[in-house]
């Protein structure tokens, strides 16, 4: 018998398999869209899973606790009254947001995952484009049923955007937030700075930093930078600074490339991390953000740019991940100034960025109708209020906010002073890749690269992410 050389055998096998495989990738999405939205609508035994990046005793502990011990039992009880035997499970996670997102995307791409999914508002676009999420009206099957929910009237339009893409609703948003400059009043007193500090320009921030620098063992300013922190770098760093230069990351459909505004932001980073005002090593560490929390709580960081999450869940005296028993007296907060008075976006003196998550229904759920019921239930005024459990948070519902925010001066400050001047990230599918490019640019600068070189690298990355030079502004 004539022997076939092994390499030829392999090649034949390979090409045969490739032919078979061609066209398999990604073409399997059609299934879920055609599914009957009323499947199992009358089932008397129902199983639902809620997935969230929250875990008892860890990340967003209070949220996980509430879901498991209040929301789920109440929903089960309510359904029992209707004669439906529901089992709801909570699938908690306590990882970095990027890791949680990977897990979700991998699950959804294989048509699995929890029935109700907590997602960050900025993921909605790319998930929707990938077919991982469908508009609520498609999944539930009845537009009137979805749009007729009375809860929508309580959710402001800007907040509803968090769960929307291309003008369609993909999920119910879970509230919003705002960013401020936190400062340690005890350190400020030692450095001779006022307890009601309110900087009016970036120079005011660095001036306060110079005063704090004289205190031994204290890092004056920490503004998130680098790639290790992921989206935290964009939201608590680059973007609030960028709107302080008068620019937004996407204007009229064009992404902001290597422009004077980007370079100003990178120069500001350089002025902080290149002069000993900030600790660049902390920004490069894998667990840098958690460490910055712990250091602030230990009175070792003077000024920290963070969202209201920091107040509610980090330095919160009872359940925070870096508790500060004297939070209410020791932690001050100020609006983030534009680079100079009137220099911010829309000519504002002060700026901020907001974001938030949404809960969407997995299009592959076995019980779309029941999932929608649970989604409404968890966003009812009663449950949203119960979820706060006496604490305050800017919820999605105006009716709840007016009732609870008065009790917490900080969150009231965010709702009344920050939200009117805040900006949201563009709900475009390319955003996460643009954001990664911003993070890389800051990583380059704090790593010692000159601003110009970092900005050039950023331009290249943005062009690749946006899909062409013509979609990027540069000057």
């Amino acid at each position: 018998m004539r022997r076939i050389p092994p390499l030829v055998r392999l090649a034949v096998l390979g090409s045969a398999a490739s032919v078979l495989l061609t066209g398999c990738l990604g073409s399997s999405d059609s299934g879920s869209g055609d599914q009957d939205a009323n499947r199992n609508a009358d089932a008397t035994k129902v199983e639902l899973v809620i997935g969230s990046n929250a875990v008892k005793g860890g990340k967003n502990s209070a949220g996980a606790e509430f879901t498991e011990s209040v929301l789920i039992p109440k929903f089960v009880e309510a359904q029992k009254a209707k004669g439906v035997d529901v089992t709801v499970k909570f699938q908690g996670d306590g990882s970095d947001d990027e890791v949680y997102k990977q897990k979700l995307a991998l699950g959804l791409s294989n048509k699995t995952g929890p029935d109700l999914i907590n997602v960050d508002g900025i993921w909605v676009g790319e998930f929707a484009q990938a077919g991982y999420l469908k508009p609520l009206t498609d999944t539930v099957g009845d537009a009137a049923k979805v749009d007729g929910w009375d809860g929508w009237k309580q959710i402001p339009d800007s907040v509803q955007q968090l769960g929307m893409f291309d003008g369609k609703r993909y999920g119910v948003p879970g509230g919003t937030d705002g960013r401020v400059l936190y400062f340690n009043k005890k350190l400020f007193a030692q450095a001779g700075l006022p307890a009601d500090w309110q900087p009016k320009s970036w120079d005011d921030i660095t001036a306060a930093g110079q005063a704090l620098k004289k205190l031994p063992g204290v890092t004056p300013i920490q503004i998130n930078a680098g790639t290790a922190m992921g989206e935290a770098t964009s939201m608590q760093g680059v973007l609030p600074l960028l709107v302080g230069t008068g620019a937004t990351i996407n204007t009229d459909g064009k992404w902001l490339g290597n422009t004077s505004q980007i370079r100003q932001v990178l120069d500001f980073y350089k002025s902080i991390y290149g002069s000993g005002l900030g600790d660049p090593v902390l920004q490069r560490e894998a667990k840098g953000r958690d460490k910055s929390f712990a250091l602030f709580a230990a009175n070792k960081i003077g000024i920290l740019l963070e969202g209201d999450y920091f107040w509610r869940s980090v330095v919160e005296p009872k359940a925070g991940v870096a508790k500060m028993a004297d939070r209410d007296t020791a932690v001050g907060y100020a609006l983030i100034p534009a680079n100079k008075a009137g220099g911010g976006v829309k000519g504002q003196d002060f700026v901020s960025m907001s974001g938030g998550g949404a809960v969407a229904i997995n299009p592959n759920t076995k019980f779309p109708q029941q999932a929608w019921e649970l989604l409404q239930f968890m966003n009812s005024a009663e449950m949203v209020k119960a979820g706060l459990n006496g604490a305050a948070k800017i919820t999605q519902r105006t009716d709840v906010n007016t009732e609870v925010l008065a009790g917490d001066p900080m969150l009231n400050f965010v709702a009344s002073k920050v939200l009117p001047l805040t900006q949201y990230r563009p709900g475009l599918a390319e955003y996460p890749r643009i954001s990664a490019a911003l993070q890389q640019a800051t990583a380059d600068v704090i790593g010692g690269k000159p601003t110009d070189a970092a900005a050039k690298g950023y331009q290249t990355a943005v062009e690749a992410a946006a899909g062409g030079k013509d979609k990027v502004t540069s000057n």
């Binding site: 018998m1 022997r3 092994p6 390499l7 055998r9 392999l10 096998l13 390979g14 398999a17 490739s18 495989l21 061609t22 990738l25 990604g26 073409s27 999405d29 990027e98 990977q102 995307a105 991998l106 791409s109 993921w123 790319e126 998930f127 484009q129 990938a130 077919g131 991982y132 680098g226 790639t227 290790a228 090593v281 490069r284 560490e285 894998a286 460490k291 599918a429 890749r433 990664a436 990583a443 380059d444 790593g447």
Partner: protein
């Protein structure tokens, strides 16, 4: 990699030389014995490899439009890899990692341990071997946690020992840390291999060398090494391959800070899942696969020449 081998008995062909069927199984039963293994290899090795090649010529992404309707981009991913500074960086770091921790670190430390423990009291030898083995068999996550605690900037053990409070070892010297870590982690294999190899050195020759007054180095060079040359080769190639494909650096540094410890496997992971670029990362995976095959081929060739 398939190499020229005697015809597989299971091949549905006329058996012209019955002498080959030494086990006397006959074709049917031989196929029956081979089928499970071939199926497993096909399902878990051949298919994924081909699938990787296929994805590598598309622009498939984890999310977004390209997740639904990826298109074939031909060799674009490969040409991109050739010009990708980060990929070059990853290759260079992998080379350093292999050279530092496997070829130099594990090899030399493993041999040194095997050589010195040869004459040690059994109790000492067993204790040392157990400790070295422990480093090898502990789960990666546990080990990574211990090493992060060791290198930590604020409360790390190393800083306490050296009195260098505030030195962020994993940030300032990421590659040095990884090389040290992997040397510690993988020495057990080299140690065990060399221990048994050294038993093949005839004691009489060592004795004679001692009689004629050969120094330790001369004994190693002229007596021991010629006997274990083959083992050195096998060991070096195996640990090089393992180290080049090792993913545990991710557990310590995630490739950071700013790509400074991003070896090829970590880079592939970051590109695929952090960046969502499954197509591009598959292309790089395929390049890594080719590199592995080339090394394996070289290894087989050298082995054959020796025998």
């Amino acid at each position: 990699m398939a190499t020229a081998s005697p015809p597989v008995p299971g091949r549905p062909a006329r058996v012209r030389r019955p002498a080959q069927d030494v086990a006397g199984l006959g074709i049917g039963r031989a196929v029956g014995f081979l089928a499970p293994a071939l199926l497993l290899i096909g399902a878990f090795l051949v298919f994924p490899a081909i699938w990787t090649i296929y994805i590598g010529i598309t622009n498939y992404r984890l999310t977004g439009v390209e997740a639904v309707s990826p298109s074939i981009v031909g060799l674009a991913n490969y040409t991109r890899a050739l010009n990708d500074a980060l990929f070059h960086n990853a290759l260079w770091l992998t080379l350093l990692f292999v050279l530092g921790s496997a070829i130099i670190g594990q090899n030399i430390l493993g041999f040194a341990l095997a050589w010195t423990m040869r004459r040690a009291r059994p109790a000492v030898r067993r204790t040392v071997e157990a400790l070295v083995l422990l480093a090898w068999i502990l789960p990666s996550t546990v080990v990574a946690y211990l090493w992060i605690a060791f290198f930590d900037r604020d409360t790390g053990t190393l800083n306490s020992i050296l009195g260098t409070q505030g030195t962020a070892w994993l940030i300032d010297y990421p590659m040095v840390c990884l090389v040290l870590f992997n040397t510690w982690r993988g020495t057990a294999f080299s140690m065990m291999l060399y221990s048994s190899a050294l038993q093949a050195v005839p004691p009489s020759q060592l004795e004679s060398a001692r009689m004629v007054g050969a120094s330790g180095w001369q004994t190693l060079r002229d007596i021991v090494f010629p006997h274990i040359r083959g083992h050195v080769l096998t060991n070096t190639l195996l640990i090089s391959l393992w180290t080049a494909n090792d993913f545990s650096p991710f557990l310590l540094t995630k490739g950071g800070p700013n790509h400074e410890s991003e070896t090829v496997p970590v880079y592939i992971y970051n590109v695929a899942l952090q960046g969502g670029e499954l197509g591009y990362s598959s292309a790089i995976s395929f390049l890594l696969l080719i590199a592995n095959l080339l090394v394996a081929l070289l290894y087989l060739r050298l082995l054959r020449r020796r025998s």
